[in-house]
Symmetry: C2
Amino acid sequence: MNDFTSRVADAKIPDATVRRFSLYLRYLEDFERSGINSVASGVLAERGGTTAAQVRKDLSFLGSFGKRGLGYSVRELTGVLRDVLGLDSVWRVALLGAGRIGTALFRYEPFRARGFHITTVIDNDPGKVGTRLGGVMIRGEHELECALTEDRTDLVIVAVPAPVAQALVDRVVAAGIRAVLNYAPAQLRLPDDVALRNVSMTVELESLSHALTRVRRCR
Amino acid sequence: MNDFTSRVADAKIPDATVRRFSLYLRYLEDFERSGINSVASGVLAERGGTTAAQVRKDLSFLGSFGKRGLGYSVRELTGVLRDVLGLDSVWRVALLGAGRIGTALFRYEPFRARGFHITTVIDNDPGKVGTRLGGVMIRGEHELECALTEDRTDLVIVAVPAPVAQALVDRVVAAGIRAVLNYAPAQLRLPDDVALRNVSMTVELESLSHALTRVRRCR
DNA sequence: TTCCACTTGTGAACGATTTCACAAGCAGGG
DNA sequence: CCCTGCTTGTGAAATCGTTCACAAGTGGAA
Ligand SMILES: NC(=O)c1ccc[n+]([C@@H]2O[C@H](COP(=O)([O-])OP(=O)(O)OC[C@H]3O[C@@H](n4cnc5c(N)ncnc54)[C@H](O)[C@@H]3O)[C@@H](O)[C@H]2O)c1
Ligand SMILES: NC(=O)c1ccc[n+]([C@@H]2O[C@H](COP(=O)([O-])OP(=O)(O)OC[C@H]3O[C@@H](n4cnc5c(N)ncnc54)[C@H](O)[C@@H]3O)[C@@H](O)[C@H]2O)c1
């Protein structure tokens, strides 16, 4: 199915563009389900709240496979995006912290459908260690390195309290992990070759709060 | 305590800067707890993974109250940031969807400490409506408008399944709400004067996945 | 075959954000 | 008092991302 791998400019796709790829892919999958075979940049743009030029510029990082006058083949574009986003492999994910956020994430099925399999869960609460979350046994914090290696983990989700986050990721990085998704309100320090994304609900709320006060003042 | 309100350039602070303000504030509160009275831009920068120049440029949007040779007063800067982020008022928040993510968010205390009070919870599951989440009664979806008005809601958190999100926020917007924090994987369409932030774990994971495949290919 | 309506791909203009570089200000010591 | 070491505040430069504008393909209709 994938002879699309003729991607040229793997060079350095802007981060903002990569994030939009995720969204485009989401829409394309909707279109595919609806039996639509081809989309124009304008359609994707409208769906995603950007402009047609933006969509075309984004996609041009991947080569050129649109058909002028017609648009893009939904199937082909889906394939290319899945490929560039690395969604054709299964990623083995370890969850650190089986608390409220951790369990909510664990039980969220769409991750699995996307190829992110949570194969490891770590916690240090003696009441939790040894019990099962879904099909996965919760292992103690001291087993961290061993679990990451055994389970051939690719990616770690941090959902432990902020004060312990840095110490844990240090060990995670030492164990060879190259990608971390962090939910703790802590600014993690990692080597440059480890990819890190922070999800901070506080930052989002506070930026909304700022927007609200601005609106209020301007009237 | 706040005669810092002499803020000049409320003009148009870049979004990226506002988000960093949240982080700076977080660090400043740590410093305050540790009894540190003043910080230099370089210290904040190191803590937050940016550069000293970036920190100073950011803060310059708020006026100038650093002391050359010394740095910034922790207390004063904390006050200014809290003010510009609108954290000195209490924000009344409505939570739409008391599912897994919704309840995890609800039970997260730091929000309340920051001045975000979840005063309204809406769900449409008959088994949930009428029960309490923490101290708040879960109300039916049909009561949405009425609840938002009665509770004088400022801000709405969307934690319902994607397919119903748009319809709900349409009603929320019609009820006069100007700020929405969206967890559903749906691209919401709102009027320009409503502030929207999306939190998408899928986008984050996929961008990590992209980073991982890049690393792998480059060796 | 030619024409037409449509849409892509992309250099170039634009706008925004980040980084640089340095004059100016402050505190403390002599 | 002046000198020294340190740090801010900020124009100007560099970088990065978005938007514009249009030549060049494409399929279909006549
Ligand atoms: N709940 C939310 O809505 C929310 C929102 C934003 C951020 N967060 C952040 O996510 C993280 C988790 O939040 P939560 O609400 O799930 O908290 P929680 O207390 O419910 O869960 C934390 C879990 O981590 C485990 N843990 C603690 N120390 C550990 C260690 N050293 N090794 C392994 N496991 C350890 C605890 O046993 C617990 O199960 C926190 O950093 C929090 O700030 C949560
Ligand atoms: N759980 C996660 O980790 C996670 C991660 C990313 C995104 N999300 C998104 O967050 C949203 C909620 O996820 P969840 O895991 O909590 O799902 P969930 O099914 O546990 O909760 C959804 C809740 O919304 C309620 N609901 C449904 N329709 C409603 C309506 N019309 N009005 C009011 N309430 C309604 C349901 O009764 C349920 O309580 C989804 O959009 C999901 O995609 C969840």
